[in-house]
């Protein structure tokens, strides 16, 4: 008894102890988390390990930060900048200078109310404080805050409506500004001051600004700019229309551009055009056009009906890996949204594990009444919009009625094909898009198990059937059929990654369910009982077609086919057949009378009927389990196929032993990790730039390694592995000191070992047995198998005296480069393979006799920033003779005093000066649009140069580049507004940097007045039309409207009288004077 008591006490003790010990770790684990007001790393309000909390600040154990007063999130207002930030933790905000926290989470407070901030002619939406803050950076600029305007577009339009004009200073310079910006006083009789609605190039203003000199982007449109850099009107290749007689033209009065329009710069962003530099289109003037923002030939795949083809700017569409919909999404799949944005196709992944799914619709057809499934499969014509939507599938299981299932706040689907046993509900509520599950861990078990099914099938048999040994199914007979099994699987996989189904690479596995008790005959679900991969891949499964096309349930029609009734009928028929057929045949030969047989039959039937009826129940069970990845590992490497992002979910779906490594790095990849693999990585030498001698488990560098020459070692492993090395043998992998190049799991390993000069020092050589180095390497694969034996690499430093002179690897500028005329000195830079001293001379002589030195970096650590591994020396080479090749002899000596025995011959070619041989126009000029023409010669490239021009004598950098240049002939059309004397300054530069300047002066006579046609008569005798003009002109005519140059010439060009033969009913006449001014007339003779 005592023993029993003792055992009981021990048992109770153990139970209590174990219970506490089981509970205790959880408690410890929970206590480790806390909301830290400030972490040790300086971050506010992080829910993290309590050990990370800064002990000088507050800590709230086991409470999420959102529930702690000092970390509540709200609005943080920056009083200095005037900016508002939502969702900021209180402590974070209050820790910052000039910041005020407010509990209103969305910043609906007075300080954060936006308004329209107008600073001069610029408008943007901001808070009043921010507006003041910005305005303070522009002293003198007028600031107005329109608190009533809270719409950004309205705000911007406010500035667009500001009156602009030409602001002329007292010195005659002009700037296009808003009226408020122009501080010049308008005085009577003077043009200085603000001239509303006028362009600076307006002829009446007599400024030096020539109109329409260049084009550039302003906002979304292309604008003309005058020679003073002032914006003019929207670009139109018809300059006259765009010039608008020198007045500001409103946008709605300008031309309308289509994408890539070479003639018009009035872009329309919403229609897919935006100002940009022209690439494949040549605008008539300038370099800017309304660029096409649409996308062409976008990515296409069969499962995504709206993929491929051309897309409009802003259009978005869904990309699917394969079929989408209830029970169809394949394991590892992810939905994506593609967007055409500013001419680029941008692809965005929806959240992994199908926590988001992609839906799309045609704009304007938001309420088509199409079923939710249509959105996945329907091809829309027109502009589509797509979005990644949160997959709200969690509540589907709780719905037992269709109405509940189809509520708007759920992403569920009422499936009639579930096997509910009695089918009284008429269907089951399943996720519209099955969520992805972590099918490889236990968290998926409970989700899949929701779809497990048990079906009790009832049978009975009467006396007859008992005699035949047969049972008649009376209830839930459908559960004995294959279709029950197949439908149970459909329901199962509709819950998530459960049951028998495909992965994203089309591999089918059928281990995701079990039938422990009894199952319909025929074994496991065969691939022929499921949709084929090709139909899944193209979203062309019969079920989906039926669903989409007829809105009827394909499965339902199949499932409800009363097969059990048919089979019952068949059995009955067979019973009759047996009775009327073989039995009679069998009994007939015995020779009894018919009466006997009749009596015998009656008695037999009575006896059978008197047998007691029997019944039984059989339980069919379908256990829905997480999907199982394929045994094969061949697809692991396909994880990043098509450029898709390889994630843990996708990787694990590709094979049982696929595992993601190097997560977060550019080497993130899916590799095979065989748990039963006990083999460590197999190391082999990679391709090296020197000879090696392979040993049993390693290699030896053949020959001696020069100091200052980095040794680059390459190793390969037969599987992705991490490698480390040590200078001592037999160290365990984990305590090896150095990484072999990288810490990642890779197959190609690369290590660069710099060999410092110190390696040749006597004491080092002694310590290393004459400069012999052994590296002992071990690698570890992703299954944690490490090499037990060291892989060794042996190399020896050249311990003898360094006898190799340095080598000049590069020069700046390159050897034989042209240099500008007139330079008697020129800065050059040498890059050497080791730290050295260098000298130069004009004649080839010994290093010691060379007169001039380079400035060289002294230390082996001073490696060039831009040319890693090389060492800098600089100098200024002098005594450069003009207009010829100059040769310099350079020699260098390294730190071991190894001197180059041959000079490095370095040449610089001094080029002849660049010359301007001609500048036009000169003297008297009678044209409306004179052309500045420059011819260059000589220089570095026979006169090829780039030229600029200006009306003032400025440096080349401040000149406008000529329209046609980078040649020997350069031209620029000028657009002076009035007659007078003009001086233009020109500068040109060639490849060597030769700069040449010049100027031209000309007296321009222009007339803006068009010639007048004042005398018109017809000579009926000669059948000739006569006209007279007020000045010398050339005239042309036609019987319809035409542009000058395309008409028929009238007689006597450059005179005042012109004739044309009569014959037309109407004459359109165009006369042009020497200033290109034109006059038109329409004559009905």
């Amino acid at each position: 008894m005592k023993l029993t008591k003792l055992i009981s006490v021990i048992m109770v003790y153990l139970v209590v102890t174990i219970s506490f010990s089981l509970y205790a770790p959880k408690e410890v684990s929970a206590a480790q988390q806390a909301c830290c007001q400030l972490t040790k790393s300086g971050n506010y309000c992080r829910y993290t390990d309590v050990a990370d909390c800064n002990t000088n600040y507050l800590t709230a154990s086991n409470i999420y930060c959102e529930n702690v007063d000092f970390c509540k999130t709200g609005c943080c207002y920056d009083t200095a900048e005037g900016s508002c930030y939502t969702g900021v933790a209180k402590s974070r905000c209050e820790a910052s200078k000039d910041s005020v926290w407010n509990p209103n989470p969305s910043c609906m407070i007075d300080q954060c109310n936006p308004g329209c901030c107008q600073i001069s002619d610029q408008c943007s939406l901001s808070t009043q404080t921010k507006c003041r803050s910005i305005a303070s950076k522009y002293p003198g600029a007028e600031m107005i805050f329109h608190s009533s305007i809270v719409d950004e577009q309205e705000c911007i339009d406010k500035c667009r409506g500001i009156e602009e004009g030409a602001c002329i200073s007292s010195d005659g310079s002009c700037k296009r500004t808003a009226r408020s910006e122009c501080t010049e006083i308008k005085s009577t009789g003077s043009k200085s001051g603000f001239n509303p609605g006028m362009l600076c190039s307006h002829p009446d203003l007599s400024t030096n600004c020539a109109p329409q000199q260049s084009t550039a982007c302003v906002g979304e449109d292309v604008y003309w700019f005058d020679s003073c850099g002032n914006k003019e009107n929207i670009y139109n290749s018809n300059k006259k229309l765009s010039y608008n007689s020198g007045y500001v033209q409103k946008e709605d009065q300008a031309c309308k551009a289509s994408p890539n329009d070479p003639d018009c710069g009035n872009c329309n962003y919403l229609s897919g055009s935006l100002c940009g530099e022209a690439k494949n289109v040549n605008p008539k003037y300038g370099n800017y056009i309304c660029k096409d923002m649409n996308c062409y030939n976008v990515y296409e795949n069969a499962a995504s009906p709206n993929s491929g083809g051309n897309k409009k700017h802003g259009e978005s569409w869904c990309l699917y890996d394969a079929a989408v919909g209830p029970g169809k999404d394949v394991v590892g799949s992810r939905q994506r949204r593609a967007v055409c944005l500013n001419g680029e196709e941008v692809i965005e992944d929806c959240k992994d594990y199908r926590e988001e799914y992609c839906i799309q619709n045609k704009v304007g057809d938001e309420n088509l009444g199409i079923s939710v499934l249509d959105i996945f499969r329907q091809e829309f014509t027109g502009y589509t919009e797509a979005m990644c939507k949160e997959n709200k599938f969690e509540d589907c299981n709780s719905c037992t009625k269709q109405e509940c299932c189809e509520e708007e706040n759920k992403d569920c689907y009422w499936a009639s094909w579930g096997n509910t046993g009695d089918l009284t509900a008429g269907g089951l509520c399943v996720p519209l898009v099955p969520p992805g599950l972590k099918f490889w861990d236990s968290s998926a078990d409970s989700v899949c198990n929701e779809a497990s099914q048990t079906c009790k099938v009832e049978y009975k048999r009467s006396g007859w059937q008992a005699m035949a040994g047969e049972w008649e199914c009376t209830k839930n007979c459908q559960c004995t059929e294959r279709s029950w099994l197949v439908n149970a699987n459909k329901y199962c996989k509709a819950m998530g990654d459960c049951g028998a189904w495909y992965n994203v690479e089309g591999k089918l596995t059928t281990d995701g369910y079990s039938t422990p008790n009894r199952a319909p005959k025929g074994g496991a679900i065969a691939s022929t009982e499921l949709e084929s991969w090709s139909t899944i891949l193209s979203q062309q499964t019969p079920e989906l077609i039926a669903l989409y096309s007829h809105n009827i349930n394909y499965f339902e029609s199949q499932v409800e086919t009363p097969l059990w009734i048919l089979s019952g009928l068949s059995a009955t028929s067979l019973g009759f057949a047996i009775w009327g057929g073989p039995v009679r045949w069998y009994m007939q030969p015995a020779g009894f009378s018919p009466l006997f047989w009749t009596l015998f039959g009656v008695l037999l039937v009575s006896a059978i009927l008197s047998l007691e009826a029997d019944s039984k129940t059989e339980t069919y069970t379908f256990n829905c389990e997480p999907w199982k990845p394929p045994e094969s590992n061949e697809d692991c490497t396909k994880c990043d196929k098509y450029g898709r992002e390889c994630t843990e979910y996708l990787c694990k779906s590709l094979g049982k032993n696929c595992e993601l490594v190097n997560e977060g790095t550019t080497d993130q990849k899916c590799i095979v990790k065989v748990k039963t693999d006990t083999a460590s990585p197999f190391i082999t030498p990679g391709n090296m730039s020197f000879e090696i001698i392979e040993k049993e488990n390693g290699f030896e560098v053949d020959g001696l390694v020069k100091p200052f020459t980095p040794v680059e070692l390459f190793l390969n492993t037969n599987e992705p592995a991490q490698c480390k090395f040590s200078l001592q043998p037999l160290k365990a992998f984990d305590i090896m000191e150095y990484d072999f190049g990288s810490t990642l799991y890779i197959t190609e390993h690369n290590l660069i070992i710099p060999i410092p000069s110190e390696a040749t020092k006597e004491e080092v050589l002694l310590a290393t047995n004459g400069g012999i180095y052994n590296l002992y390497i071990k690698c570890k694969d992703s299954s944690d198998n490490t090499n037990t034996r060291d892989y060794s690499i042996k190399f020896q430093i050249d311990s003898g005296p360094d006898q190799t002179p340095p080598s000049i690897e590069k020069t700046l500028p390159d050897n034989n480069s042209p240099i500008p005329y007139g330079k008697d000195k020129f800065d050059v830079r040498l890059l050497l393979n080791e730290p050295s001293d260098c000298k130069w001379s004009l004649v080839n002589k010994d290093y010691t006799q060379m007169e001039n030195s380079f400035i060289c970096l002294k230390s082996g650590l001073d490696i060039s920033t831009f040319y890693p591994g090389l060492y800098d020396c600089t100098t200024s080479l002098s005594n450069i003779k003009q207009n010829q090749m100059n040769t310099f002899y350079i020699r260098c000596a390294d730190k071991a005093n190894n001197v180059q025995q041959q000079s490095y011959v370095y040449s610089l070619v001094s080029t002849p000066p660049l010359q301007i041989t001609d500048i036009k126009p000169k003297g008297k000029v009678y044209t409306r649009y004179p052309v500045l023409e420059v011819t260059t010669s000589q220089g570095a490239n026979n006169g090829i140069a780039v030229c600029g021009f200006n009306e003032k004598e400025v440096t080349l950098a401040n000149m406008l580049q000529m329209f046609n240049t980078n040649s020997t002939e350069h031209s620029q059309q000028l657009q002076p507004t009035q007659s007078g004397s003009y001086t233009y300054y020109v500068s040109c530069v060639d490849k060597a940097g030769n700069i040449v300047s010049g100027k031209t002066q000309f007296d321009l006579e222009i007339s803006l007045a068009a010639p007048q046609i004042y005398n018109i008569y017809k000579d009926k005798i000669s059948n000739i039309l006569h006209i007279s003009t007020t000045e010398d002109t050339e005239c042309q005519f036609l019987d319809k409207q035409f542009t000058y140059g395309t008409g028929t010439a009238m007689t006597n060009p450059n005179t005042k009288d012109h004739t044309a033969p009569l014959g037309f009913s109407v004459y359109y006449i165009l006369c042009q004077d020497k200033f290109n001014n034109q006059q038109t007339a329409v004559i009905y003779p």
Partner: protein, 262 residues
């Protein structure tokens, strides 16, 4: 001398004084002490120094602004404050709030970025600026203390370095005190868009890149490209202005939003 003559002399002297004051006023920025030798020559000596300093400002600003954009507004990142994505440490600008919709805004301000840039650039200026290489015999160059100002505007980063440098030869002395450089990078513009995204994410967990990009592009005439990536369970936003002219490596500002996984 008559009173009228005295008055004339006084007026004449007054005019000279005014002219001298005006001249001095205009020479405040580049003080010129007119001595015995050619001041213009001294000024010319300053030009390459100024260019050298401005190049340093440009190179360092470009380098650190690029890193700042790649790393989500922070040059130095501490543990658990960034997402390692494509081997890049991308800062979380909004931290996960467990079981609650939205996230906790990290409160990255424009002046925080300016301060970081200032610290980073000024720490490298000494090694970049090499005044000694401009020294010549007969000239003495005396640099003063450096003070750097960074201003991030929508499309430019403006660096202004206050760094008085005097060049002296014989009795002539020239001084230049400020150097400034505008680096055309849209850090400010992209930061502003990033804050719009973070503000909305902090409240709703949602942000539609297309609608925002299209509207913003239309309003500003700048072609915004905003891409949302979702390395589970986090989000990464990559923002850029499509370059005009297009460049191979446009300036990018990318940041991450911390998410909550299964």
């Amino acid at each position: 001398m008559s009173k009228r003559g005295q008055a004339t002399i006084i007026i004449f002297l007054a005019i000279i004084i005014v002219v001298v004051i005006v001249l001095l006023f205009f020479l405040v920025k580049s003080k010129v002490y007119i001595g015995g030798t050619n001041v213009e020559n001294l000024r010319r000596e300053l030009d390459p120094i100024a260019k050298h300093i401005e190049k340093c400002l440009y190179d360092l600003t470009t380098q650190y602004a690029a890193a700042m954009g790649q790393q989500g507004g922070y040059l130095e990142q501490t543990e658990n404050t960034y997402l390692l994505y494509n081997s890049q440490k991308i800062s979380f600008l909004c931290f996960n709030t467990p079981k609650i919709i939205g996230c906790s805004n990290r409160y990255l301000r424009l002046n925080d970025m300016e301060s970081q840039l200032k610290l980073a650039i000024i720490s490298k200026l000494d090694s970049c600026i090499n005044i000694n290489s401009f020294k010549k015999s007969g000239f003495s160059i005396t640099p003063g203390n450096k003070d750097l100002q960074i201003d991030i505007s929508p499309d430019n980063i403006i660096t202004s370095l206050s760094y008085p440098i005097k060049i002296k030869k014989d009795n002539s002395e020239v001084e230049v005190s400020t150097f400034s450089k505008a680096v055309p990078l849209p850090l400010g513009r992209l930061y502003s868009a990033a804050m719009d995204i973070v503000n909305l994410e902090s409240l709703t967990d949602k942000f539609d890149t297309v609608v925002y990009s299209v509207i913003k592009s239309q309003l500003t005439g700048k072609p915004y490209i905003i891409q949302k990536l979702q390395p589970y369970p986090n989000k990464v936003y990559i923002l850029k202005i499509k370059d005009i002219p297009e460049e191979a490596n446009p300036y990018v500002f990318q940041f991450s939003i911390e998410g909550e996984g299964k």
